[in-house]
């Protein structure tokens, strides 16, 4: 690949990285999205700050009912972590569905959410998990709810000079069933649609339903119509189907050579139903 000329720095600390960002540097994490853009010269950064040498930015920790995941934690580390698998299986299942093994070995959770590709997998799961994105800039740190973080296609709530430090996801108790269901685009592996579901059963009734959708529109979103249609119900097949049919309610669906808007919408409904049924079965 022959990108345009650029300067390269490898900061050793987050503070150093933030200083570099203040001078206009662009963060480089796994490079799995940034490098292909540079190859095509769609991205032409003058200066890259490689986050890979920053100590303690790649970690998975448990902390008062949540999992804290460092920004440079690779997809593979998430997929294979015993902690994530037991405490937040939805995230592990989603990570395992990203691209191929080479991509998962390099790509990072921070890079994925910062890139905000409308077909990326993580955002669906993070929506269903109501995750928080912790960003740090020269003025300090703030936690941004994922729904406001994902502003639009390739656009986030990050301010210039801010860096993602951590992703926070909740640890679910017993009785929660999860599922990530995806239709992969055959060439890239990205989601034509991806549905992340998190369901809790409280006795007979479904006490919590969270559905994150990616690939369908300009950004990953929560299918609140589906959630509301199921919460408080028992989750019969008919209820699931009816709720799944609301998954694209009010959404302007994408259309490209890989799937037209009507077909994408249809796939979202089918896979929402399948993911809901699977998650429900796992919640039992």
């Amino acid at each position: 690949m022959i990108p345009q000329e650029f300067e390269y720095s490898a900061p050793k600390s987050l503070d150093e990285a933030i200083t570099l960002l203040g001078r206009g540097a662009k963060p480089l994490a796994g490079g799995m999205s940034l490098i292909p853009m540079m190859k095509l010269r769609l991205a032409v950064p003058d200066h890259l700050a490689d986050l890979g040498r920053i100590k303690d930015l790649s970690y998975i920790r448990e902390h008062s009912g949540s999992l804290l995941i460092g920004a440079t934690t690779t997809h593979y580390a998430v997929e294979s972590s015993a902690l994530v698998r037991s405490k937040c299986p939805l995230l592990a299942e989603t990570a395992a569905n990203i691209g191929d093994v080479q991509v998962r070995n390099r790509g990072t959770i921070g890079g994925s959410v910062a890139h905000a590709d409308p077909s990326a997998d993580y955002p669906a799961a993070l929506q269903a998990l109501e995750a928080q994105i912790v960003a740090r800039g020269s003025k300090g740190e703030r936690a941004i709810p994922i729904d406001s973080f994902l502003a639009d296609t390739f656009t986030t709530a990050l301010e210039p000079g801010e860096i993602i430090r951590e992703v926070i996801v909740p640890i679910d108790g017993a009785g929660v069933g999860v599922c990530y269901q995806k239709v992969a685009q055959k060439a890239s592996g990205f989601a034509v649609v991806g549905i992340a579901v998190r369901i809790q059963r409280g006795g007979e009734k479904l006490s919590m339903v969270r559905v994150g959708v990616t690939g369908l529109s300009n950004r990953a979103y929560r299918a609140t119509h589906t959630e509301r249609a199921l919460e408080g119900r028992t989750g019969t097949p008919a209820e699931i189907e009816a709720a799944a049919n609301l998954v694209a309610q009010g959404v302007d669906a994408n259309s490209d050579i890989h799937a037209s808007a009507p077909y994408r919408t249809h796939l979202a409904k089918i896979h929402a139903a399948r993911a809901l049924a699977k998650a429900l079965a796992r919640a039992e």
Binding site: M1, I2, Q4, E5, P36, K39, L40, R41, D100, V183, Q185, K186, A187, S188, F190, I257, H258, A259, S260, Y263, H266, L267, I270
Partner: protein
């Protein structure tokens, strides 16, 4: 142990490829691994528009960039000749194909200027500094639209966008159609594909002015052809041009052509008097390496009620692209040759229209014309079977050429060498348990499941080919050199790039000479090392190149025997198992002793000369015609339209099998590309001529996890065309696969009234059909 056993033959054994260790350890030398002292790097500025006049071109900003040596534009290469098209057809319009665009660009990727700099990064950056003022014109990217009235003219001098028309006819077509019980018609497309060799194209040119000698290292399938053509275009003497194909990372036909960049780098090196390197990016390879297929076919089949096909009509609209690459216009004529498939009908009519479009040229891609023809006829047979409510296997068995009819002259002018067409079909049907599957399918349908089975019984033309039938000679050369030590070097005119002939040719040699496999090396791909050769394409390497080797070895054995006679002082000798033995005394000399004696030359046999070398150029009397049957079982997710291949059975008859491991590998790779065409791959140009599947993120080639398990088997019908009995297997898998997959999917949907689906069978297309309750 006193028993004497004849050493086992190496031919027929699953011997591992000797090529592989260097490939899998990353120690092979590709073009990009070649570095020359003082070498410069070239980057090419390419058109972002499919059609535009160039108002002005300012190279000054690029020249001003530090590290840039020079920039060449169309004006510099204006008189350097035309990128060659080697195919000839009556009335063919061949546009002059300048190395660099002169005042107009014709497709996205069309080269405009070449920047030469001290490194490849500077060269690329500088190329982007060149200022071009385009007057953008309307383009046409679809062959049928190009032929419609009022379409933008790709070449202003030919407003009908027609490069040629071609007609071929045999038998009594009109009569057969008039008398037919049934006529079935279908429009069938074979979409544009990207050949996608793993290694992109690349060239290093090294000009030694003092010697007037040019060496061109290039990723090609046909180094001698490149030498002849580059020498011709640039007006160089061919004996001063050396072309080397180092390790070549795949070609699939796309590297038969001599490309603008090969000539351009030779031109640049001669101008700057320094070595220069150009390596195409993946994007450049997408845009500027030939594409495959690009057919719109209109078929009509006439038949009797009992299933006998009585005539075939075919109209082919071939998307040529903007320029004619080496074989571009010849490819659809191969489809015409192959249009009757394995069936007996002698009544055929074909009309081809070659349409210019503002796209990259199409040319030979694995199968080259035969996959299109096979896809067409195999789909039509299924459509006929559906029309007659007959089983598709039955229709095929009814129409196959019978075994006793070989050699069989076809209505298209070929003579099929040999065959037993029912054998692979029966074998494949047994393997899938066809009868039982039909019962299972009926049950599955009642449960609402979509299960299908499809077959293709393909034939192909291989071993290109008798010289009169080819544009550049169809023979092949081989040279066997025995060194004084008794080690053997085989030089072959073919140019393998993944096919494994370094292994199979060593097997042939070791068997013929009775020596060990490791005593033989096989060299190729360097015009200064091997006699003139034609190259590797059209499944010809073993059938033609291997045969040339076989005959060189026979000549060598005659020489060996002469030396044996002299050394053993007896006329009554036998040459076998690596020794020459006197039949009377039992005394013998080894192959190594003969080799040494031939170079030591103390006593030269009468009628012989010192040394042990023999060279043979072999002209094949005919093509070969491999065949086979592929059967595919598919299941369709009716909610999403996704296709799952449940079973893939491939029975191929490629004549004698020299190395089953390599044959299986060729079939697997071919099937992967055939399934790729059937289900996933498509080169999509939009109406403005932009290639919107120009990245691997959008163009879906088959990857290992997407592949089904392939159950492969063989029948063996030796070819009478060559003494090895081999036919060729490089393209078989690709040719057999796509119709089998499509037939299977159409079968799964047939009860919904679906008759045909064009490739690729995207889930969305299928879902649309299923949700509409079927086809028309």
């Amino acid at each position: 142990m006193a028993t004497i056993t004849k050493p086992e033959t190496l031919l027929g054994k699953r011997i591992r490829r000797r090529e592989d260790p260097r490939l899998i350890t990353g120690t092979a030398t590709y073009v990009d691994d070649i570095k020359m002292p003082g070498m410069y790097y070239a980057a090419i500025l390419r058109s972002p528009h499919a059609a535009a006049n160039i108002r002005s071109l300012n190279v000054q900003p690029a020249l001003a960039r530090k590290g840039v040596l020079t920039v060449f534009t169309g004006k510099d290469t204006e008189h350097a000749g035309s990128v060659p098209c080697g195919a000839a057809l009556p009335g063919l319009r061949v546009p002059h194909h300048h190395l660099l665009a002169l005042d107009r660009v014709y497709f996205v990727g069309h080269p405009l200027a070449v920047v030469v700099a001290t490194d490849r990064y500077i060269a690329r950056d500088a190329a982007e500094l060149i200022e071009v003022d385009y007057d953008v014109l309307s383009a046409v990217a679809d062959p049928e639209k190009a032929l419609a009235a009022g379409a933008p003219a790709v070449h202003p001098q030919w407003p009908d966008n027609t490069a040629f028309t071609f007609h071929q006819e045999g038998g009594e077509v009109d009569k057969a159609f008039a008398e037919a019980d049934v006529i079935v018609k279908q429009r069938i497309t074979s979409q544009r594909l990207i050949p996608m060799a793993m290694e992109t194209r690349g060239v290093v040119a090294d000009w030694r002015a003092a010697e007037r000698a040019l060496t061109l290292y290039t990723s090609t399938q046909a180094p001698h052809l490149v030498r002849t053509l580059v020498a011709q275009v640039l007006g160089l003497e061919d004996n001063r041009l050396r072309v080397v194909a180092p390790e070549v990372g795949g070609g699939f036909g796309s590297k038969i052509d001599t490309y603008a960049e090969e000539i351009l780098m030779a031109f640049v090196a001669m101008k700057i008097r320094k070595p220069v390197k150009w390596i195409g990016s993946r994007r450049e390879d997408f845009l500027c390496t030939i594409h495959g297929r690009g057919h719109v076919d209109y078929y009509e089949l006439a038949a009797r009620r009992d299933g006998e096909i009585t005539a075939i009509k075919l109209k082919i609209i071939q998307d040529l692209g903007a320029f004619l690459s080496l074989l571009t216009p010849a490819i659809p004529t191969l489809s015409v040759l192959m249009m009757p498939g394995l069936y007996r009908t002698k009544n055929i009519r074909a009309d081809v229209v070659g349409a210019f479009t503002n796209c990259m040229a199409t040319d030979a891609y694995r199968g080259a014309g035969r996959p299109e023809a096979t896809h067409g006829i195999e789909r039509m047979v299924d459509i006929l079977a559906a029309e007659l409510k007959m089983d598709p296997a039955e229709v095929r068995l009814k129409n196959f050429i019978h075994n006793e009819e070989f050699p069989f002259p076809t209505a298209t002018g070929l003579v099929y060498d040999s065959g037993d067409y029912a054998a692979p079909l029966r074998k494949a049907m047994d393997m899938v348990d066809y009868g039982k599957f039909r019962q299972e399918q009926a049950r599955a349908r009642q449960e609402g499941k979509l299960l299908g089975i499809g077959m293709s019984t393909y034939g192909e033309i291989c071993a290109f080919g008798p010289s009169p039938a080819t544009p550049a000679g169809g023979w092949e050369s081989s040279q066997v050199k025995v060194e004084p030590s008794g080690k053997v070097t085989v030089a072959t005119g073919i140019s393998p790039h993944g096919q494994g002939e370094e292994t199979t040719f060593a097997q042939i040699t070791a068997d013929e000479l009775g020596i060990g496999l490791d005593d033989v090396i096989v060299v190729h791909g360097d015009t200064s090392l091997v006699p003139y050769g034609i190259g590797t394409f059209g499944s010809r390497s073993t059938a033609v190149g291997g045969t040339a080797l076989y005959f060189a070895l026979q000549e060598l054995k005659t020489k060996l025997k002469k030396w044996g006679v002299t050394l053993l002082e007896s006329e009554d000798v036998t040459l076998a198992d690596g020794r020459c033995t006197c039949n009377k005394s039992g005394k013998s000399v080894s192959f190594q002793e003969i080799a040494f004696a031939a170079y030591r030359a103390m006593k030269v046999p009468a009628g012989a000369e010192p040394g042990l070398v023999s060279t043979y150029f072999w002209e094949p009397p005919n093509f070969t015609f491999p065949f086979g049957a592929h059967i595919v079982v598919t299941e369709i997710d009716r909610d999403t339209g996704e296709v799952f291949i449940r079973r893939y059975v491939a029975i191929d008859d490629c004549g004698k099998i020299l190395n089953p491991l390599i044959v299986d590998g060729q079939v697997h790779g071919g099937v992967a590309q055939g399934i790729g065409q059937a289900l996933w791959e498509q080169a999509v140009y939009d109406d403005n001529g932009q290639l919107i599947t120009g990245e691997l993120m959008d163009y879906a080639v088959a990857k290992a996890p997407m592949m089904p398990w392939i159950e492969s088997g063989h029948t063996v019908t030796p070819s009478p065309v060559n003494p090895l009995g081999v036919k060729g297997v490089g393209e078989a898998g690709t040719i057999g696969a796509s119709p089998a997959v499509v037939n299977s999917v159409v079968d799964a949907l047939s009860h919904l009234g679906v008759r045909h689906i064009d490739m690729p069978l995207t889930p969305e297309k299928i879902w649309n059909l299923v949700s509409a309750g079927g086809g028309k």
